[in-house]
């Protein structure tokens, strides 16, 4: 669907075969989210108030942000199941630094991003140059990262984390003019990634690799460098997202941090319409997917429904999204 050529001859020679700026999946997601928000606004006392929407956007941010990196990785035909472990490592390093030496916000974010970038580099090098499938490598590194994270934790939680990262939190320090900083940063990064993937040669190369890595290589794409870059980008975003995670938690960080987040992120990416087989996808869809999942989770709580129903709904969304993707793929093949 995304690689359909424009029927009319393009006016500028530069823009050829560009996908439409918004995909069908994204329109459907926007529709579903609008309907859900409207329904929740009617059926709950305060869903559509600042006190409810602001924390919802804050909670969406880390998943959507890591989802941007995950989308790029999946577009190249890879996957990164180590992001949960990486979040654990980055957040425990950052939290311990905050407690131990009281660094300021900028330094804390920088430390977390550097830690994330290093972990992403490990994944990227092993996958790009090791020629083993990403799922195997990242499954291995997921366990290594968790081991590393637990070692850094020692045998206790990190207590008394100062409020330095409150800039990204749920409280009043985390907003400017009512807009949560964590969400704003996520939107800006998503927009930048959207533009990069759509309008630059380098960005299009990710799609080429996911479509057919061999053909991309023959066409002159530096496949290994591109693949490496995808995992490093993911690592950097994991670093920033870890700061959001600390900010949203309590003043204590325990070892369950990051646990299961790889599945939450992959769910957002898949619901967003990115093909799990690579070659097609959109960071905008991922952001909408993350927003939909958090809307369902908050909605279920605010409606007073049983907590486990949100798992059921997310499961249905994933299956519907993957099913729609497979149907589209079949339609393309039969054309």
């Amino acid at each position: 669907m995304t690689t359909v050529a424009e029927p009319k001859a393009p006016r500028t020679s530069k823009i050829k075969n560009l996908p439409s700026p918004i995909t069908g999946q994204e329109l459907v997601l926007v529709g579903v989210i609008v309907i859900l928000w409207a329904a929740l606004a009617v059926s709950t006392p305060a869903f559509l108030t600042a006190g409810s929407i602001q924390p919802l956007l804050v909670a969406t941010a880390p998943i959507a942000l890591v989802g941007v990196g995950m989308t790029i990785v999946i577009i190249t035909g890879g996957i990164d199941v180590s992001v949960g472990g990486a979040i654990m490592v980055c957040s425990v390093i950052t939290a311990k630094t905050l407690v131990g030496s009281g660094v300021n916000l900028g330094v804390a974010v920088l430390i977390s991003i550097i830690a994330g970038a290093v972990l992403g580099l490990v994944n990227g090098v092993l996958i790009a140059y090791g020629r083993v499938h990403a799922i195997i490598i990242t499954f291995g590194t997921a366990n290594l990262f968790m081991f590393l994270g637990l070692r850094i934790f020692g045998s206790g939680t990190v207590n008394g984390i100062p409020g330095t990262l409150g800039f990204f939190g749920r409280g009043p320090d985390g907003r400017t003019l009512g807009v949560p900083h964590a969400f704003l940063a996520t939107v800006l990064i998503t927009a930048a990634a959207w533009w990069y993937l759509r309008h630059t040669a380098g960005g299009r190369h990710f799609f080429a690799i996911g479509g057919d890595a061999q053909a991309a290589r023959l066409a002159g794409v530096r496949v290994q460098r591109r693949v490496l870059l995808a995992y490093v980008i993911t690592g950097v975003l994991v670093g920033l997202a870890s700061c959001f995670v600390i900010a949203q938690g309590t003043s204590t960080l325990d070892q369950s941090v990051g646990s299961g987040k790889e599945l939450a992120v992959i769910a957002a990416v898949v619901i967003g319409g990115t093909s799990i087989m690579g070659g097609r996808g959109s960071v905008l869809g991922t952001m909408l997917g993350a927003l939909l999942v958090q809307t369902v989770s908050s909605g279920v709580t605010q409606l007073g429904w049983r907590s486990q129903l949100s798992d059921l709904f997310v499961g249905i969304f994933i299956i519907v999204a993957v099913g729609a993707d497979l149907l589209r793929a079949r339609a393309r093949r039969n054309r």
């Binding site: 199941v81 637990l150 309590t250 799990i276 908050s298 605010q302 907590s307």
Partner: protein, 342 residues
Amino acid sequence: MRPRFAAAVALTATAALALTGCTKKNDDTAASGDATGDKTYKVAFVPKLQGVPYFEAMNAGGKEAAAALGNVEWLYQGPTQADAAAQADIVRSYIQQKVDALIVAPNDPDSMAPLLQQAKDAGIHVATADTDAPSSVREVFVNQATAQGIGEGLTDSLLTAMGGKGKYAIVSCGQTAENLNSWIEVQKAYTKTKYPDAEIVDIVYAGEDQAKATQMATDLMNAHPDLTGLVGECTSSAPGVAQAVKDAGKIGKVFTVGLGTPQSMKPYLTDKSSTAAILWDVENLGYLTAWAGAQLAQGKPFTASNNVSSDLSAVAYTEADKMLLLGPALAITDQNVDQFNY
């Protein structure tokens, strides 16, 4: 089609693996000093998960008991996530090691019961501590406090702050956690009889995820604008509900209590976003657990009142339900929080 199918299978397999938990084992043993001549009894304790302050404090108490008793080797190992399958693996490994006494705080009492039977068949004395497996062959349950004591302690602390009336909600953790659910049952019944003007409006489950517990508490406050109380039922949701109240700027309007460890609750007790943490002396619980394991291993019976140590001079044992009771629940407030270093 084929590679797509393979990829889908691979993804599913990974998801399944990730769900069952990727566990690393991290042995932590504390052998007791001199056991020359006498037999040294291996007493193993499998917590729900290790690395959290709660069970680490139990471990510290267990080590202390082993050192004091002299003839006990205290073994301590748990899964890195509160996962029943990972915990079962550790229990199996202790059965193979033929420890003398095996004490478990089961994540899932029902699936633990057949394993305890297996241990008993292998000649190992089995017990539970912290969380019971009531329908199992365990010989004793080392109980930190009765469900009655904890449920009533939580309810009384919260409703005193709420002025004896109003709506409150509970943020619990694992949905199958036997002890959490038994406390919630007491909270429901006790609130109804003692505080007829108070009402529990919802009970939600956040797993062990602090950020999720905080978000759920935020959602609950939005769902019920007249909510004046929140209970964090476990050590990750207790600071979570307090953080949510603080973030929403509702300190003094919405009161919280919870089952929190002292050091993690200290900032919230200090800024009044949490009224009280209900707990017990966890190190003493570990001490009592190790002592009970040693008694079982040596075939010594429990008496109605047991002199365990100077701190635990009269631990009650009830024959009917085979239960050792640590004592009454403890309310930790900003006044006494500094007495606890975990």
